[in-house]
Amino acid sequence: TKEGTQSDSSNITTGENDATNNAVDAVKVQIGFENSLSEPVGQALLKWQQLLEEQGDGSILIELFPDSQLGTKSELIDSMLLGEPVITLADGAFYADYGVRDMGILFGPFLFETWEQCWALTESDWYAEQSELLEEKGLKLLASNWKYGERHTMTNSLVETPDDLRGMIIRVPNNQIQTQGFNALGATATGMALNEVYQALQTGTIDGAENPLATLYGRRLQEVAPYLLMTGHVKNFTTWVTGTAFFDTLTPEQQELLVSTGREAGLYNNDLVDQYEEEYLQLMLDEGVTVTELSSKEVDQFVEAAQSFYQKGDDFGWSDNLYETVRAAMGLN
């Protein structure tokens, strides 16, 4: 039988195991993510790993797989549904495509004015309902308090105002929410694999790309698109998610520990992100990037343009009056 081939090298742990496991039998949770370890989120994951080790009894450990080593986000989520001990990061746009339609709004342009509004929303009843819908789909949210960064726009020609952006072809990740969201701002969004973006910018196949500074800088886009427009069109928080099938095999203590250390690492992450954002900006300036800040009037112009996105709820399969519901949930009228 299968068990027969397996001796002491097994690392399977079931829910019946209590906290007296030694390290050999410890549950190894695999965290797979697209970023590299040197990015803030990678550093914060090392912190999570360390916190779990310090606060736990060694019965549960974290293994890190940066740079999509363990597979793409979709593959990892599928493997969670098959019961694999996997955690990955995902955001509203992804969950929308996954069938929890309303969560797509989290990635809408200019939804949040401040990060406080964002955290207010993730603590709201509305968010709890959405989390439950995800659980019905077999996905358990572990932490939703991680800043991923503000998304800005880099272009290969000078862009100073919202009007300059009109008609430019900007690469966005391949999903409906981000495509429509960026189209609403007047640009022409196009999907493309992140690996191809550098060359496409260099040759002018596309005019720009949008992402948090860490990714823009990490992909070295400043070499081929030396104009940074600080649009901040999405305040991008991210979530860590695992499969309910795996989560339910953990003891209540292990569950509690995984969640609490994940949130604690999130706070550490948010400090890092703030600090790094300034650093990345400085690095970009040092490498000759022209940085353009928007005036408050120009921001208003974008915010107004973004309204057309929120009226497309039917296209996205949203609940009625979702925009108003969400505004109310973050404490706005």
Binding site: L70, G71, M192, E196, Y198, T203, R220
Partner: protein
């Protein structure tokens, strides 16, 4: 866990050497892992074999295979080859030289060495055989020269390396031109030596008359538009390197119709060849994806790297170990996949030893490329042999002088930073 990995690798190698189709052999080894590891869901075996065939960056493969096949049937290849003979007719190993030059040129387009090798195996090898080159030699020349592709910009390998290691991609491109040229020139010299020895004589000794030259050049004018359209289109940002493949196919189709050489029967045959060749190539890539996923999941590359870090304290020994390590890794894991795992681990150590970033990058990328050619697992060898029906035994025999040359170049790049950095220093 390590004994399971050892068993997996052992089964894989035994199957591979006992004439099991390569694709099945790699999957078979991987299957053992799933059978012996009860806490991993075996459905992931299917997931990973599927995901390996579902990659946007490998789209270039069906496109460039298709372009090669269609150019053969539409009469484009023949016209280009006649023209190439005008240029190289008096050189030893004429068409073999054309094969090399074409890869250096293609380096600017497809960006994928597998796509390049597959296309040229379809296009050039039959022509070379017609001119008296052996099948094995033609296959080896095609496989080896496609190593030039990732070196000459643009290339996904450089972009991935630059992003992960935070090294200027522009500088990597420039350095790649230097190394790519070095490789191109050395391969051409080697070919002319081998050709002389084997009696692959020049096609003619006399100069062609102007009239004769014009006579063979004129039919090639339209086909020669193809590289111009493709390179121009990419440089001007009309389409990406991957999309260029679809343009090439449609252009070859158009010429086939203009020349009236592409009959309905040929067209059907071309489609059949394209899909079966693409399938055979991509299934090997997909199977390798499963195996590489297993190694990653069990943290094998990570552990080996940790071992290197903890044992080596000399810069030159470190470089030598990197040479050997990457050759072995290159055999078992697809180049870009291993880069994602290894670059973040190896680059900080190289920096600690004071090795120049560009120098190490070139060492890494060249090494990785050589791995794709090395038996027992070199993808390039399987791809080209699969298409030309060359026996791997004959391939390896014919490849020996080429392995020798690659080894010399590899050592030069590894131990003489000048080759990697001189162009960069000149330009920046």
């Amino acid at each position: 866990m390590n004994e399971i990995i050892l068993m997996t690798a052992l089964v894989l190698l035994v199957l591979l050497f006992f004439k099991v189709p390569v694709y099945i052999a790699i999957l078979g080894g991987s299957m053992m892992y799933f059978l012996m590891t009860p806490n991993v869901n075996p459905i992931l075996f299917a997931q990973q074999s599927i995901s390996g065939a579902e990659s946007i960056s490998l789209l270039a493969i069906p496109f460039f295979v298709g372009a090669g096949v269609l150019m053969n049937y539409s009469g484009v290849t023949k016209r280009i080859m006649d023209f190439a003979e005008v240029l190289t007719g008096r050189m030893s190993g004429g068409l073999a030289q054309v094969n090399i030059l074409l890869s250096a040129m293609m380096g600017g387009l497809s960006g994928s060495n597998i796509a390049d090798a597959a296309m040229q195996s379809k296009m050039l090898v039959p022509q070379m055989r017609e001119k008296g080159f052996s099948n094995a030699f033609s296959t080896v020349v095609t496989a080896t020269s496609s190593m030039i592709t990732p070196l000459i910009p643009p290339g996904i390998a450089m972009i991935i390396y630059g992003s992960i290691a935070n090294v200027s991609i522009g500088r990597l491109f420039v350095a790649g031109i230097g190394i790519g040229t070095l490789l191109t020139a050395s391969l051409m010299i080697l070919i002319s030596i081998v050709s002389k020895k084997r009696g692959y004589k020049p096609i003619r000794t006399e100069r062609l008359t102007l009239k004769e030259s014009i006579k063979t050049t004129r039919p090639a004018l339209l086909p020669l538009m193809l590289p111009i359209i493709i390179i121009g289109g990419i440089r001007l940002g009309v389409f990406t390197a991957t999309e260029a493949g679809s343009v090439a196919i449609l252009f070859a189709l158009l010429l086939g119709i203009i020349y009236r050489e592409l009959k309905k029967k040929d067209f059907i045959q071309a489609v059949k060849e394209t899909v079966t060749t693409t399938s055979a190539i991509m299934l090997i890539v997909a199977a390798a994806t499963v195996f590489s996923w297993i190694l990653t999941r069990e943290r094998v590359p990570q552990q080996l790297t940790e071992w290197i870090v903890s044992t080596i304290d000399n810069k030159y020994i470190f470089l030598l170990i990197v040479n050997i390590f990457l050759l072995i890794v290159g055999m078992f894991i697809e180049g870009n996949a291993s880069m994602i795992i290894l670059v973040p681990l190896l680059v900080p150590i190289a920096r600690e030893f004071g090795i120049n970033d560009i120098h190490f990058a070139m060492t890494y990328i060249f090494n990785n490329a050589v791995g794709a050619l090395s038996p027992p697992m070199g993808t390039l060898m399987f791809v080209t042999c699969g298409i030309t029906k060359c026996k791997t035994k004959d391939f390896i025999k014919a490849a020996l002088p080429f392995y020798g040359l690659l080894l010399v170049i590899m050592l030069l790049i590894t131990y003489v930073p000048f080759f990697s950095t001189f162009l960069v220093d000149l330009i920046y």
